[in-house]
Amino acid sequence: MAWPVGTIKVPLAGWQVTDWSLPGPGIWGLAGPNGSGKSQFFSQLVAWGNKPQGLRVGLVMQNPRLQLTEATVWDQMTWPFQRGWSGRMKPAVATRAEQILAEWHLENYRTSAPWELSGGMQRRLALASMEILAPEVYLLDEPLEGLDLEHRVLLDTKLDQWSKTASVLVSSHVWQWLLVHTEWGWWCDQGLTWGRMGEIWYQHGLSPELPLEALWRRLLDKGAPVTPEAWANLERARNEVICICQNSHQIPSIP
């Protein structure tokens, strides 16, 4: 379901958007320089008055520590479902909380205080405690930060699952990851500009960090028929270049 938000003001960065809406199920990207207002935009989205009644919106903040408010990992997962002083909840909720904690490899930390966890574990707990709410809209502000390789792969799997039924808005400075997961999104700098993420990278991605990224920028600058986002996927990049070489009769070896 698309989320028609309307006007959003981002006061510290000094810009606003009108008639803004988040499209329906899928993963949508948000990129922009430091200080452009991406995190404020996320905060404004969840602000009171912007959400239609009943819409479940889950936010994982850039600094997840700020949203971990409960005394234990278990309480952090289950507090929205606890009823009254007894803290009782439906058995199905407890089972689901157990399952999600196990998936994020936090099952052995149920009684730990969230602030005792490492930075990466805090990120995982914030993601897990959002997942249990089954949001219709996921707002993920730099979700990769602090995650080790194993849990980046897990996040990728979860994103694929979530985006089948929910709108997922992700911000990141890791272009390679952003281009693999998002086809469309916004460039954030004095406002929001909608476009294909590959084009956004090409227009605003600044100096390349990886050799393949540098090659792609160079090929695009020369007008070569490559798609801007292909460099982020090794297989796709190789296929596009082999195709160009074959068309120009310099047949490269095909592995």
């Binding site: 430091n34 200080g35 990466g120 602090g146 080790d148 100096s207 090929l219 007008g223 070489c245």
Partner: protein, 254 residues
């Protein structure tokens, strides 16, 4: 810096968060320490920077001085969560705290603070409140504050967190400068880019050195795989320009 059978435990935890751990870092060496979430990287940073006590073991420098006797400001630590190390109300005030503590004249404080603001392109933000900054800019303020402190040993805990390409570029230039100057560097994190920067890589797992770190991809492997896959073996040393010329000869239209 010599870590000798270092053990660190948190209260109410059955197993030590770190150790027993041995490590020797030579002066001027750059070591990248990686490992899964919760493996003890940040705990290691805490003990080396002196904010946390050892449960047992010893940390000394090459002269045999115990860590408790090291000069103030000798170790600088850029934390994973930069807001955790900020105590100044404005950017300039926060950056100046290290120099205020360690310099002998106010003029030195001003010079070091001003140089740090310039180095990290923070001149226009000097009077802004720390809390009005984005996460990425807060991280750059933390980097600038340690830059101004000018420590002998620098610990960077996930220093690329939240940085855009400009910020990453400034960080890389600073690291390059530190390496040329012979500073001792300890980089903690997950990004394989640091394997290329560092002299060596060590892997922590459950608080101890992993016996078999396993294959860790380094960024250039992707490039090698791409070039080999397109042009065959023995072409992996081609530069980006040469590969570009083979694929689509000609000059840039931009």
């Amino acid at each position: 810096m010599i870590l000798d059978r270092v053990v660190v435990s948190y209260p109410a935890q059955l197993h030590p968060a770190l150790g027993p751990l041995d490590l020797t870092i030579r002066e001027g060496e750059c070591v990248f320490i990686t490992g899964p979430n919760g493996s003890g990287k940040t705990t290691l940073a805490r003990v080396l920077s002196g904010v946390m006590q050892l449960t047992s073991g010893r940390i000394t420098n090459g002269a045999g001085e115990d860590i408790a006797d090291w000069a103030p400001g000798y170790v600088g630590w850029v934390q994973q969560n930069p807001i955790g190390q900020m105590v100044g109300t404005t950017v300039a005030e926060d950056i100046s705290l290290g120099p205020r503590w360690l310099s002998s004249t106010l003029d030195q404080v001003r010079r070091k603070t001003s140089a740090a603001l310039t180095e990290f392109r923070l001149e226009s933000k000097g009077n802004q409140s720390i809390h009005a900054l984005s996460g990425g800019w807060q991280h750059q303020v933390a980097l600038a504050a340690v830059w101004a402190q000018d420590p002998g040993i620098i610990i960077l805990d996930e220093p690329d967190t939240m940085l855009d390409r400009h910020g990453l570029g400034r960080l890389m230039r600073w690291i390059q400068h530190l390496r040329q100057r012979g500073s001792t560097l300890l980089i903690l994190g997950h990004n394989p880019r640091w394997m290329v920067v560092a002299d060596r890589t060590a892997v922590l797992d459950h608080g101890v050195w992993a016996h078999d770190p396993g294959p860790i991809p380094i960024p250039d492997q992707e490039w090698v795989s791409f070039v080999d896959g397109v042009f065959g073996d023995n072409t992996r040393n081609l530069s980006v320009c040469e590969v570009s010329e083979r694929i689509w000869p000609g000059q840039s239209a931009r």
